[in-house]
Structure formats: structure tokens, C-alpha cells
Amino acid sequence: MLLIRQVKEALEAEVLAGEEKLDCQAEQIYASDLMSDVLAFGQPNSLLLTGLATQQAVVSALMAEFVGVVFLRGKRPKDGCERFAGANGLVLLGSHLDMYEACVRIDSLQRGGELISAAASPEVRPEAHFLSRAFTVQGGDFVNAGLVSTEIKSLLKTIGFDPVLVRRVAIATYEGEMNVVMHAQRGTVQLAVDPRRILVTIEDQGQGIPDVELAMQEGYSTATEEMRAMGFGSGMGLPNMKKNADELEIVSEVGKGTTVRMTFLV
């Protein structure tokens, strides 16, 4: 017998549905991603551990009369699932652990011993530490200008980076994004995060910068009157990028485009 609340704590899980059922007991643990097996072999009042984050997992657990489902590896079912589970009296938990780690921790709970971990070093959470995203920026699209940097900012905030660092990345990325909007046909912004650093690479197909050194000076601008009227183009923002990034690398070829690579140390 296991208290669901204990399982939740052992697995560092969050409650997705059925908060009021946390003090119920689970008679057994059933670890599987194969819903056909859950239906065929699962015992009533079991708790399902699974990496299959779909509506089918919730439905199968209900059919097999389980008390709840723990979704592992940071996977989460689609929105409507929580309401459906809650309305049918099923607890849903979400944990970042993998299946082996989850089984080992619950096994130690069941034996009443101290909580143990299968990780050789307890800091192994690769998926949270490595993140990469690519975004497209359309040249001349002033309406959507800034959306990419806004999204990057909120992503980094969610991960839990220091707010000062997040602000620096956001400002420098915004400057880069604006340069694409103002000077290029289109471009891409790539974000790559690892435990040591945040890397932002902005690549565009545009006119290129003839003299990078000159462009680095404050106030230098090639923005048109129209851009200035909209409040943009008081400079190329390169000095601002340099100020905020730990490392700044610019490679530009006239007539082809520019690649700006900014590194921020964590």
C-alpha cells in the first residue's frame, strides 16, 4: 500500500488533476506504455507509471479501474485530459524523472526505507538543461517585430535563469531581431541553451554590413526615414548587443547577409 501523496513527493511530481485524492492509497504500481497491457494485466486500484502522454493513457487507466496516472520524463497530456480525469475521480501527476528512476524511488518507499535514487549523480536532468529553438523573422514585418525575443525571454524565465541574465539576453536578441526586420528580407533566430551558456545566433539574408567596425559605433544607422518615424533605427543596436552579451561575433558579407552570434555565460 502506498499513499499517493508520498509517491508525489518521492517523484518530485506536480499534481495535474485530482488534488483531493492525494490521501488515497495505491495498492500496486504498474509501469507500462502499452495500454493493451494495462487493460489486460493491470489490477484495480493500481497507480500507472507511463511515458505515453495521451488521452488513451487516461482512458485506459479509468477502464482498468486504476487510482491514477503518473506521466514521466516531463511529458504532459493535452489540455482537456486533466478535466476529464478530474471529473472521473482519477489523480494525474507529472514528473520529470525517467521510468527506472521512478520505479527505484517508489520501490524504496514501499520497503519503508530511506528514499534512494538510481542516478549515479543526482544532478542528471539532461532534458531540462539542453534546449534549442529556431524562429523565423520576416523582413519589413514591423507588426510582429519583437515577438521572437519576447518568446525567448519567457522560455528562459520558465527554465528559471537569473532575471538579470534573462533581461540581457532579451535586449540583445531584440536588437538583433529588429536588424533583421529593418535590413533583411528574412532571417532566423536560433536559441541554444546548455548548462554553461545561452547561445543566440541570428542569421539573415540581407544587404550585409560593409564596415562592421563603423556599425559598432553608437548612433550609426542606415535606417530609412519611415523606420525612424516608427521609433526604430536610432542605431544598429550592435553596441547594445556588445554591452549585454559576454561574447559577440559578427560575420557579414555585402549583398549576402549577416550572422550575429552572441554568447551569454550562465
Binding site: 495500454m35 493493451s36 505515453l52 539542453f130 534549442s132 529556431a134 536560433q190 541554444a192 546548455d194 560575420v251
Partner: protein
Amino acid sequence: MSTCTHEWQMANVRFGLIAFEKCFHCGSVRTYFSSEDSLPLGDEYREGDHFWSRVETAQSFRFDLQCTRCGLIEGFGELMGLMHCTGCLEDCPVEQQRRVLERQRTWLVVAFGFLPQALTSPLPERKLAVLTEFFNQRRDTSRSTIKVVPFNLIPDLSRCAGEFLHDVGMLSQEPPAERKPLFS
């Protein structure tokens, strides 16, 4: 520009379903990725000159590869999946390569793009090389290695009985039936 010896890791992993649709009037096949939980089979619908019907879905995933050293990302959005060659056709160039490679303890894997796009714009050689590099970095290459080849080598898809690396029977209580060739 890059002098980095890339060390690849999967990034942007998204789980979902690959759907196979067939037009029963002209016989064309098309495939796509969906992040829906389930896609019902059957229900024919019309689009232009075609009458598409979903004939098969397979649980699968999409990913990109990212270098853990320099952060470079190689997108693999156009990769539908990987196939294991079952050696079904004696005269198929994939099968011929497979036999030669297996003697050198190299396992061959066939990379598929989405149809019909991939028939005219195949996955670039460079990306297949990156994929090969990635799988070899993940294994003990003193025992054996992997080589990824393009599906465009297969002369006649309708006769191919290769096996996609995908999840079978995840959701049903029935034992999975023996599959027919996907493109026949």
C-alpha cells in the same frame, strides 16, 4: 565557417503520429506528421482530384540534432522515419548494399522523407551523414557501426516490405496483425 567536431544530441523532440493516406482512385500515397493523440483510419475525403483515405498511422516522433559543443542545430523536420531493410527484394540496391555492409559489421538504416515531397526533393546527403554520425556517436563502434542511406535508392516502393521503426499496438487490446507493405 565552423571548425567544430560536432557532438550531436537530439533536440526539440516531439512525439506524435505519422499518417499514411492513400487515394484509391489514382493510387498515390501521402504521409504527414500530426501531434494529435489519435487519427481515425478510414473516412475518405476529397481534396482536388484525390479521394484520400487514411490507411495506417504509426506512433512516432520528430527531432532535430544539436551540437553540444557549438550549439549548431540541424533540422530534421523533413525526416518521416527510419526503416529496417528486411531484404525482401534481391535486386534492390538497398538490399545489395546491406549484404556488403553487414559483412563489415555495419548495419544499414533507410531514411524516409515525407511523401510525395521527398520523391522530388530527397533528404540532402549532408543531413544523412549527420544522422549517421549521430547514431555512431551513440554506440560502441568497436562492435559495429550504423549507416543511414536514402529511401530514394529503392526502385519500386510498392514492392518494398521494409519495417518502419515505430510503435506497434500501443493502444489496442488486439495483438498487432502482420503488416502488409505500406506502399502497395
